[in-house]
Amino acid sequence: MRSRFAAILGDRRAVVGALLLGGFAVLALFGPLFVGDAGAAVDVPLSPPSWRHLLGTTGQGQDVLAQTVVGARLTLGIGLVVGLLVTLFGVILGVGAGYAGGLIDDAASVTTNVFLVIPGLPLAIVIGAYLPPGPVRLGIVLTLAGWAWCARVFRAETLSLRAKDFVAAARLAGEPHWRIIAVEILPNMASLVAASFIGTTIYAIGAQVGLEFLGLGDLGAVTWGTNLYWASNDSALLTGAWWTFVPTGLCVALVGFALTLLSFALDEVTNPRLRRRPRRGPVVRATSRPTPPSATEALVSVRELTVRYAGSELPVVDHVSFDISAGEIFGLAGESGSGKSTIGHALLRLLPADAEIDGELRVAGADVTALEGEALRRWRWRDAAVVFQSAMSALNPVITVGEQFVDTLAAHGQGSRAAARARAVELLAMVGVDGRLVDAWPHQLSGGMRQRVGLALALALEPRLLVLDEPTTALDVVVQREILERLVELQAKRGFAILFITHDLPLLTSVATRIGILRDGHLVELAPTEQLCRAPRHAYTRLLLSSFPRLPPVAAKRLQVLP
């Protein structure tokens, strides 16, 4: 929490917002002590700004500056109190319902939804008609009209937290409910609570000013809303007395602006991805090019590859070199964070823009680091395709399986729609998926099916290199084995090379011909599979080998047909 606080303070916009708010707070607290009686008529009505009255006078001869300063107190006060109340109600109802579940949750959620569809402003106006005017009425009305939205947010958050392991663990441990809520749930929602408090305060100030402008507030009081009401009532437009409504409107806008800035900053702290870092899609820059293209016969040639992220000293990949021959299955193994996926992504030019790359990358003779724009786009998938680990999220959820083939083929100018569709059916059949599923949506497929679809998709343009980034990790052992068998069979038939990236070294030993071991960005060992299994040279390799049960080789048949 402290670091988040520091992060908020580090944000320039948050600082501006906080300073503005602080200024208004000081104004609201102490300003009224200096400006005198805001209600008193002090001069000729509607006098323009002058040294005597810096912001002029109202239609009643009151000092606009005094009115604006005094108005801040009640307006901001009500805004903050309503913000607090709405958030409080929201938390109590949302967390209570979400945590309790069952009938209570059903009832609460129906009530919330009912309140959500009942429009707030009219409700506020209608309820307001029944209560005597004053700040209390405004508070009640605005709270009633606003709590439902808050409650819904907190309920959803509670539901997702309740499903988390640490809450389940606490429940199993028999901790009392209040303690679970207080210790496990609420602290995890702190930034959401803060965000919703800011949001509801903005709402409360806006709605309050709006109601008062309609004359539905307490006209005896001096607030920003009533100031605007009186300005409009005294025909500010007709008399051209802009000074009666411009300062107040600006104040409302500035407070809202300051709060919005704070909520921006808060949003980005909670969700760092929103931060505005310069980024233009996954593009890679090569910072230097040490050697002229090496004339090897390897399909893939990686030389002295070093990847570093902007702002960090340590490279994630440090001077890694290896080759992959055509038709070879090359494995890269290592723990998460070892840099193995970074290498895969670098080969496909999928690293974010703040990644700095040194070294040489060649695939099928092409200098990958030199490709840009349309040339890069056209190169992709033709020579090198990829299958990601997360089959669940690698397919676009809103278009059908077939469409994802069609757009891929179309992007590379391959045939008509009908032809592309036929090709998709064919490809699906190749990986053992019923061709009728071409019209299915991704969510309708099981994990294994999706991974097969991913494989089929990767083979659509018959690439010479297939990068498999943890392709089977999320699958159960049986499915994993089926897919691997299918993969090895296809590889044998079509002769493409595979870069197989996984943390599961034993699995790798059952499919790969050569294996590289990565640790902290360094390639610590590179050897043919047999040699690596038999006599691992590096202690880390031995450790990796021993940490998983051995599997019998998948590809015994394949090894026999290898020339």
């Binding site: 005017p133 005896g220 009186w230 009532n233 025909s235």
Partner: protein, 546 residues
């Protein structure tokens, strides 16, 4: 910014056609859209020009000249015992559908009100006993008691066509979409949500009148918009309050723009609830009155347009009734020392916080106002400050109209700002109602029951007797003397605290029409809110020659 460009483009391509030349645009009431309702009997929702445009009364009281103007009736006559009123009905008048108008219609209208008391807003049948058409030109009304002030209620009742309204099953819920009347404007030419037009009645009984082809009502939801339209020349005749009118309106076109704000409106009072101590104490009421600086109230609340009330609380419409001695009496002057002395005398002493108290009770009140009525709200704020100076703590509280009115009627308030009858102006030949509505005992009900008038709940037996005597006479000198005594009672008992006489707002633009009443030519009230007197103005207006 793209949107702005597009908008500017649209703005450039369609300019609206100009309004027809001989159609008079009027701004009377505020609305965002019009709803078709021409039922003239519902006081709450029927307005001019339905009353006093489409439908006409028997006689019109011209408050400016102080005389009855014969209209659908040519004359009236009281019987000697003042229990029978005979009206002679005008000959040669036709309904706009061509049917002849007769005494039958008059009798029918009064009978209709008897059958549907919901429509009898002015309470005619409180004093009427019967009505009958003696012949085609004569109607005779019998009264249950001598009640001379009732003449104005009878005279200004608009008359309906019996041949059509006889067939209306429920006149209370009848919106009368296609009205048939005797008035100068009867043809609904256009009715849209933003604008409607009422065309000339081709069969109007005054030859050659009206000279205007039609009245046009444009919907403006607030004063501000109506004022903008007035300043822009879209409106010819307006009854809005225009702030700083010399600068904002007249200065724009001195030749054509004019206004007249005569002090002919209702008197606005600070109503004390005399059933709630210590407001039952006349010394307290008078002290409140003395503490108020009425000139400041008027200057700040009404931009100086109104006139502070004198001791009789009568508007200029009753100038001839005003007793100079009462008018000049001190109780409505601004005298802080006298106010303090009265409070001291009543036993209210100042505490440490400057607020007076007696036996542990603080002298603190709430003043209730209507939240939309900004002039009164401002007046209340000035009053609150004035009263604080003499040690009376006052809080101004603004309510929505309906809530405020309910509290006023049921006696839940302590102090409230209002004017009798809540009308812009109530025009009667005598100030009888003006006083009856604030100091007549029979009208006073217990707190909590709705009180239609006399919201201060004050009764004075001597005033009752005087008012009773006044009801039974129509001799000028006798009436004057009785009224003088009533005025004295008013000043002595201070049943309510008069603040100022409302001006009647009225502004006009003579670019297209001439003949508006003004301070220079005061033949009738200018304000279009003063139906049925508006009929007099409609007869005078002429389109400018092209």
């Amino acid at each position: 910014m793209r949107a702005l460009g597009l908008a500017a483009f649209i703005a450039a391509c369609s300019a609206p056609p100009p309004p027809a030349r001989d159609v008079l645009s009027v701004s009377v009431e505020q609305a965002s859209s019009w709803v078709r309702n021409f039922n003239p009997l519902l006081v709450g929702t029927a307005r001019w020009p339905t009353r006093g445009g489409i439908y006409e009364p028997l006689l019109i009281w011209n408050a400016v000249s102080g005389a009855w103007v014969p209209w659908l009736a040519t004359s009236y006559r009281w019987s000697d015992d003042h229990r029978r009123l005979t009206l002679t009905i005008r000959d040669g008048v036709r309904w706009s559908d061509g049917a002849p108008f007769s005494a039958e219609d008059v009798a029918f209208t009064f009978e209709l009100l008897h059958r549907h008391r919901a429509l009898d807003a002015s309470g005619l049948w409180d004093f009427l006993d019967g009505v009958r058409a003696v012949d085609a030109h004569t109607v005779e009304l019998t009264l249950s008691r001598p009640y001379v002030p009732g003449l104005v209620e009878v005279a200004q009742q608009v008359i309906l066509p019996a041949h059509l309204w006889r067939r209306v099953a429920d006149p209370v819920a009848f919106t009368n979409p296609n009205p048939v009347g005797t008035g100068p404007f009867t043809e609904v030419r256009v009715f849209r949500n933003q604008v409607w037009e009422l065309g000339r009645n081709p069969r109007y009984w005054q030859p050659g009148k009206p000279e205007i082809a039609a009245l046009r009502m444009v919907a403006y939801p607030s004063n501000d918009q109506a004022n903008l339209a007035l300043v822009e020349g879209e409106i010819d005749w307006a009854g809005n309050f225009v702030p700083a009118i010399e600068r904002t309106f007249v200065a724009r076109d001195r030749e054509h723009h004019g206004y007249w704000f005569p002090a002919l409106g209702s008197t606005v009072f600070l109503y004390p609830n005399t059933r709630r101590p210590p407001l039952d104490d006349v010394r307290v009421r008078k002290a409140l009155s003395l503490a108020i600086d009425r000139q400041r109230v008027v200057d700040i609340g009404l931009f100086g347009y109104a006139r502070p009330s004198d001791g009789t609380a009568l508007s200029d419409a009753y100038a001839s009734w005003r007793d100079p001695a009462v008018a000049a009496s001190a109780w409505v002057g601004h005298d802080v020392a006298a106010a303090a002395a009265l409070l001291d005398e009543a036993g209210w002493t100042r505490g440490a916080d400057g607020v007076r108290s007696r036996a542990g009770r603080r002298l603190a009140f709430t003043v209730e106002v209507v939240s939309g009525w900004s002039d009164w709200v401002r007046a209340a704020q000035v009053i609150a400050r004035d009263l604080a100076q003499v040690g009376v703590a006052v809080e101004v509280r603004a309510y929505e109209w309906s809530a405020w009115f309910e509290r006023l009627q049921s006696g839940e308030f302590e102090l409230s700002i209002a004017c009798p009858g809540l009308a812009f102006s109530f025009d009667a030949p005598t100030p009888y109602y003006a006083y009856r509505w604030i100091m007549s005992s029979p009208a006073v009900k217990p707190l909590g029951e709705l009180q239609p008038t006399n919201w201060n709940r004050f009764g004075d037996p001597r005033a009752d007797a005087l008012l009773g005597e006044f009801e039974a006479t129509d001799e000028g000198p006798r009436q004057k003397e009785l009224m003088r005594q009533i005025e004295e009672r008013f000043a002595a008992t201070a049943p309510a605290i008069p603040l100022f006489v409302s001006p009647l707002w009225g502004a006009f633009n003579t670019r297209r029409f001439t003949g508006f009443p003004s301070a220079a030519n005061p033949y009738a009230k200018l304000s279009p809110h003063s139906a049925p007197e508006n009929l007099l103005v409609l007869m005078h207006l002429q389109p400018r020659a092209r």
